[in-house]
Amino acid sequence: MKKIEAIIRPEYLGIVRKALEELGYPGMTISEVKGHGKQKGLTQQWRGREYKVDLLPKLKVEIVILDEDVAKTLDAIIRSARTGERGDGKIFILPVEGAVRVRTGDEGENAI
């Protein structure tokens, strides 16, 4: 099992969700996060004067998947979250030791 942590643009959540659902992964956890990568923030304007927003709002999508699904999951996220501009985000892949479904007590791959 692998955990996918994808930092994406908030406005692309709908498309990413749809792509993951089509792969058979309807469940996910989402958190609102802030940060920046090489883009180093954005310039916006307020009452005629520019200012820098250093930490941009992003969404972190977390799902746990089967090992053999990693490649196509990454592909699905990249396809649906990419604009080609700076600020598209990052994806991290982490190993998962175990999983339990609280309701039934199912363990391991049966739990995801």
Binding site: Q45, W46, R47, G48, R49, Y51
Partner: protein, 456 residues
């Protein structure tokens, strides 16, 4: 409870008791009331009710501008200072109402003494206990409170509550009414030997320039907010809600339909339709000009500055609204819309931190409104004739003198007041209090308790 603490309570109680007794004493010594029921007035002129309803309705519209200022200032400032701004807007209305009733109204509209101050009608008692006087009072007190509330934006996010509280009493008791007497109470500016004397129909000078310039004095004494200047360069400190700011703008625009047309003080003066049209057109033209200016300069039309622009147009048309025709109102608005943007950049550049643009909107454009009477007045109303209608330079001279006096009076008294307050009780909160926000440090509450703290 310690003895000292008990004594202090007695002192405070005594202070309160003194004023209560003073009111009771004054209230019970009414020798002669003029016409407290209005029966005599109605017999003399059965057409009066429509005027009364008109003036009262307009007073209530002007009252709504308080909500407009509260929303505008709240929206333009950070969430951590919102509750403080709401209380300031509430209490400056309350305190000005009281101080204008006790002293201000008599100073402004009482029997004239040497063209400098009014001297009758203290506490609205005696002869002033009259339906006509009370009608006039309710309209005028709204104006006094408008001048008072303008300042809160310029000094926002760093002034101590105590200092602001003292200020709000003084402006309604002295700064506003004395200058107001010179223009509206039969004082020396209204009788200047140029043109028709200094003319300020609904208060570009009396209300807005006074408020804007006192705000300037306050912002200068206080100094800029932490983080406004980085290496000497001004930076934007975004406010927390353009939605609230826009609501404030709409409320102000709406309230202005009471502010300007109501200043005829009579529904029998059918000029009210001309005034309403001019008021609307100037605001529209100024919003357009400010929007276009920022669009060209910044590549994107700026929302906040367009809001400032609309109000700048309303401020500018306030003095000339009764004396000009529609095309002139549009020009006055267009100029105000450009002026306000340039003025905001100017004050930013010279180190005056005015979080909401109050100095530029009310001060700069108030002066422009006064001068525009001397240019565009067409002579159809009250025989006020400006330069462009063959009236010569006289009216413009009267307007310039009035504007200069207005700036000098408001700045000198405002600056002195804030300096004295600074010496006596300190005017600015500590850096720690400023960083945590005035909501928590001054009032122990948050405007939005359920929102996480956001660093701006």
């Amino acid at each position: 409870m310690s003895v000292n603490r008990a004594l202090s309570w007695v002192k405070r109680g005594g202070f309160f008791l003194f004023f209560t007794l003073l009111f009771v004493f004054l209230g019970s010594t009414i020798a002669s009331a003029a016409d407290p029921t209005g029966e005599t007035a109605l017999l003399g002129d059965p057409g009066l009710p429509v005027d009364y309803v008109w003036v009262l309705m307009c007073s209530f519209l002007v009252f709504l501008m308080q909500a407009g200022f509260a929303m505008l200032e709240g929206g333009f400032c950070r969430a951590k200072n919102t509750a403080n701004l709401m209380l300031k807007n509430l209490m400056d209305f309350a305190m000005t109402s009281l101080s204008f009733m006790v002293i201000g109204f008599a100073l402004m509209f009482g029997a004239d003494k040497a063209g400098v101050i009014g001297t009758t009608g203290w506490f609205l008692a005696g002869e002033a206990y009259d339906v006509g006087t009370y009608l006039f009072f309710v309209f005028q007190v709204m104006f006094a409170a408008t001048a008072a509330t303008i300042v809160s934006g310029a000094v926002a996010e760093r002034i101590k509550w105590k200092a602001y509280f003292v200020y709000s009493i003084v402006i309604g008791a002295i700064i506003y009414p004395v200058y107001g007497h010179w223009v509206w109470g039969g004082g020396w500016l209204s009788t200047l030997p140029f043109g028709a004397g200094h003319i300020d129909f609904a208060g570009s000078g009396v209300v807005h320039t006074i408020g804007g310039v006192v705000g300037l004095a306050g912002a200068m004494v206080l100094g800029p907010r932490i983080g406004k200047y980085v290496n000497g360069k001004p930076r934007a400190i975004p406010g927390h809600s353009l939605t609230l700011a826009a609501l404030g703008c709409f409320l102000l625009w709406f309230g202005w339909f009471g502010f300007n047309p109501g200043s005829t003080l009579s529904a029998h003066d059918l000029r009210i339709s001309v005034i309403a049209v001019n008021t609307n057109l100037a605001a529209a033209a100024a919003a357009f000009a400010a929007m276009l200016f920022t669009w060209v300069r910044r590549k994107k039309p700026d929302v906040g500055m367009s809001i400032n622009g609309a109000i700048a147009g309303l401020v500018a048309i306030t003095a000339p609204c009764a004396f000009v025709e529609a095309w002139a109102a549009v020009i006055i608005g267009l100029v105000a819309g450009l002026l306000v943007v340039m003025s905001v950049y100017f004050f930013d550049k010279i180190g005056v931190d005015d979080p909401v643009g109050a100095v530029s909107v009310h001060g700069t454009c108030g002066v422009w409104g006064l001068l525009s009477v001397g240019l565009f007045a067409d002579g159809t109303y009250g025989s006020v004739i400006g330069l462009f209608y063959g009236g010569g330079w006289g009216q413009l001279a009267a307007q310039a003198i009035g504007a200069a006096v207005c700036i000098a009076w408001a700045f000198i008294l405002g600056y002195a007041l804030f300096k004295i307050v600074d010496k006596v009780m300190g005017i600015r909160v500590s850096p720690q209090e400023e960083l945590v926000g005035l909501d928590i440090s001054e009032h122990g509450t948050k405007a939005y308790p359920e929102l996480p703290y956001v660093e701006a």
